[in-house]
């Protein structure tokens, strides 16, 4: 099978199988699977309203997926994007406390930069711990995410709290001029453009530049990288920094475009969903764009599934989980030639819950 077809075919197969299983799960809950699928589609892509909701969710997903994808290309499994996102949001919301920002686009850029720097440093810390202390980056990045959430809650409910926010502790809202508006008067904010540009830019960077190529060498074959004398540690830290910066920007954009201040609703699991998006996109930044839109759509359809069919709001989480399990299982199919593929599917079937 040609490799390009396989690159696309297997994820598509896995997502289709996940949707099938999800329909069956709906059937177990007493809902017609056809209704489940049509509602999922209507809620995600059925109308202009749902498209806006979908794209609004896709924007942070693209950026948090990059936080997994870029380190992954350097050979690291970083899953702490949630931590970089909340700290990026906090830094963005807190910047006006420290500096008087110009009430215009320059100020907005400064807010996003604050998020990028904080998020970048946070994930770089996981890379540093791996390179200099030998700590597994998967575990440390996740522990750092929990620590980040603790810091976030402490500061939002303590020193940075807006005294006017009684029921829902939050920081002072960003001033009108600092906020990110919608594209052409819609609800889709410019964060989507940032996400798409970041995905394309980083995809080209990995593919076309010497530094991007070096990162792929370090990730693909550490020994070869060592032999040709690549500065592996510096490249790995750079990959972590870039990835973390993306997640940090996601947080700052969520503050500037959606919430206007930093509060606990920012901790919405975008960091974890980003892991899934990146794995399905096979850590390819260009593929992240469509996958993020697809999963943004599933997220958007969640509330419709709940309202129209009475399925629990966690059903989207289940769909994500099934898709993730199947996408990994499909890895097992990659090396197998077409004729034996059907024999192998039976093995996958066993592994289903």
């Amino acid at each position: 099978m040609p490799s390009a077809l396989r690159e696309i075919g297997l994820p598509v197969f896995a997502i289709a199988a996940a949707l099938l299983l999800f329909g069956l799960l709906g059937a177990l809950a007493g809902v017609d699977p056809l209704d489940v699928w049509t509602t999922l589609f209507t809620g995600a892509f059925g109308s202009w309203f749902s498209w806006q909701n979908t794209l609004q969710r896709a924007a942070p997903l693209m950026l948090t997926a990059l936080c997994v994808a870029i380190p992954a290309r350097a050979g690291l499994v970083v899953i702490g994007g949630e931590g970089a996102l909340v700290l990026g949001a906090l830094a963005g919301a807190a910047l006006p406390y420290a500096l008087t920002l110009p009430d215009n686009t320059a100020g907005t850029v400064a807010v996003c930069l604050a998020g990028a720097v904080t998020g970048g440093l946070w994930v770089m810390l996981a890379g540093w711990l791996r390179q200099y202390r030998g700590i597994n980056e998967t575990i440390s990045s996740l522990l750092l995410a929990y620590i980040a959430i603790g810091i976030f809650k402490h500061l939002v409910e303590g020193p940075l709290r807006d005294p006017a926010s009684l029921n829902k502790p939050s920081t002072h809202a960003l001033s009108e001029g600092l906020r990110i508006g919608g594209i052409g008067g819609s609800d889709i904010h410019w964060g989507l453009a940032i996400g798409v540009v970041a995905c394309i830019g980083l995809g080209l960077w990995l593919r076309l530049t010497a530094s991007g190529f070096s990162i792929r060498v370090v990730g693909g074959n550490p020994r070869a990288a060592q032999l040709v004398g690549l500065p592996a540690t510096r490249l790995i830290l750079a990959a972590c920094g870039v990835g973390g910066a993306c997640a940090g920007v996601a947080g700052a954009v969520e503050v500037a475009a959606v919430h206007t201040n930093a509060n606990a609703s920012l901790i919405a699991g975008y960091g974890y969903a980003g892991i899934l998006v990146s794995f399905i996109a096979r850590h390819n930044p260009l593929a992240i764009v469509p996958v993020a839109i697809l999963f943004g759509g599933f997220g958007a359809a969640g509330s419709l599934l709940q309202r129209r069919l009475g399925l629990p709001d966690a059903s989207v989480l289940v769909l994500q989980g099934i898709a993730f399990v199947l996408i990994l299982a499909s890895e097992g199919l990659r090396l197998i030639d077409w004729r034996r593929l059907f024999g192998t599917r039976a093995r996958i079937g066993e592994a289903r819950p």
């Binding site: 899953i79 440390s140 522990l143 993730f324 996958i348």
Partner: protein
């Protein structure tokens, strides 16, 4: 602070270590068994949440806390079995599978557990460890989860089994050298699947102690990463079930500082104190890991070593 407050604080932390440490004890024992066979199960976080839900639901439906414990452990074993099977496929990475099962297990638990948020389920009995004191604060703080003695026995049993029994030696063999295992005519995948499933069963007991003892109800924030901390705990315990016991209660105590301070009226830094277990884990990892070398006592086949 007055003397009474100090007593309350210490009792709160010690009691909290026993309460908060119980799930840590079971997940770390489960993870220890899994890792001894040569696989890492990051999905124990999902196992913990799913088994917590299943145990609560089981206890609610059957009206018996102990049946709930069994159902929870069974659910944990089922999810871990899925992990074991998936990892046996070629080219499937155990860390990535663990992340997937973390999402899947929590998603499934939230999905199925929606109707369980309101009701009350029968709770596990408590062993009153504070019988020697007249102080009601001390007495209520030192109520011991009835599963904890079982966990202690299990830890001793596991340590004995790893050293003395055929099954225990086979698990260690699969964890240290897949080639040697194959050469002796055993199935590496079979041993690992069995060890992972048994590990899920043990971790499921931890989930049960979350919903059936402390905090004693089902909600979506029931676990805050205990299943992941377990992976670090096992490294800290250098893959010894007996050291897992000490590590679990140390972490339980660290996690109990925030609530104990709050109970005596110190509200400042509640969220910061709650991050103590994570910070502690990182600090411990910093001292126990070294770049380019393998931690002492770690099974040779672990993917984190390669």
């Amino acid at each position: 602070m007055s003397a009474d407050q100090w007593v309350a604080l210490v009792a709160g932390i010690v009691g909290g270590a026993l309460r908060v440490g119980a799930p840590f004890l079971f997940v770390s024992l489960g993870e220890c068994l899994t890792e001894k066979s040569g696989r890492i199960n990051l999905g124990l976080e999902g196992v913990l949440v799913l088994s917590a839900m299943a145990a609560f639901g089981g206890a609610y439906l059957t009206d018996s806390a102990w049946l709930g414990v069994l159902i929870g452990a069974g659910a944990g074993a089922a999810l871990a079995l899925l992990h074991g099977l998936l990892c046996s496929l070629e080219r499937v990475n155990d860390v990535a599978t663990g992340i997937a099962l973390m999402l899947f297990g929590t998603g499934l638990a939230f999905y199925l557990g929606k109707p369980l948020i309101q009701p009350q389920a029968p709770q596990l009995p408590a062993v009153p460890l504070g019988f020697w004191s007249d102080d009601p604060v001390v007495r209520s703080a030192l109520q011991l989860n009835a599963l904890v003695p079982i966990g202690l026995v299990l830890a001793v049993f596991m340590a004995w089994a790893f050293a003395r029994t055929r099954a225990g030696l086979l698990v260690r063999l699969a964890g240290d050298s897949a080639h040697a295992t194959r050469a002796l005519g055993y199935s590496v995948s079979g041993i690992r699947i069995a060890a992972t499933t048994a590990g899920g069963f043990i971790a499921g007991l931890g989930g049960a102690s979350l919903t059936l003892f402390y905090p004693g109800s089902w909600n979506e924030g029931i676990s805050s990463g205990q299943g992941l901390i377990a992976v670090a705990l096992v490294i800290f315990a250098r893959w010894s079930p007996l050291r897992c016991v000490g590590a679990a209660f140390l972490f339980g105590g660290a996690g109990a500082i925030g609530p104990a301070l709050q109970s005596i009226g110190v509200g400042w830094g509640y969220h910061l104190f709650n991050t103590v277990p994570y910070v502690l884990t990182l600090v411990i990892l910093m001292f126990t890991c070294r770049p380019g070398s393998v931690a002492t006592g770690s099974p040779g086949e672990l993917s984190s070593n390669r």
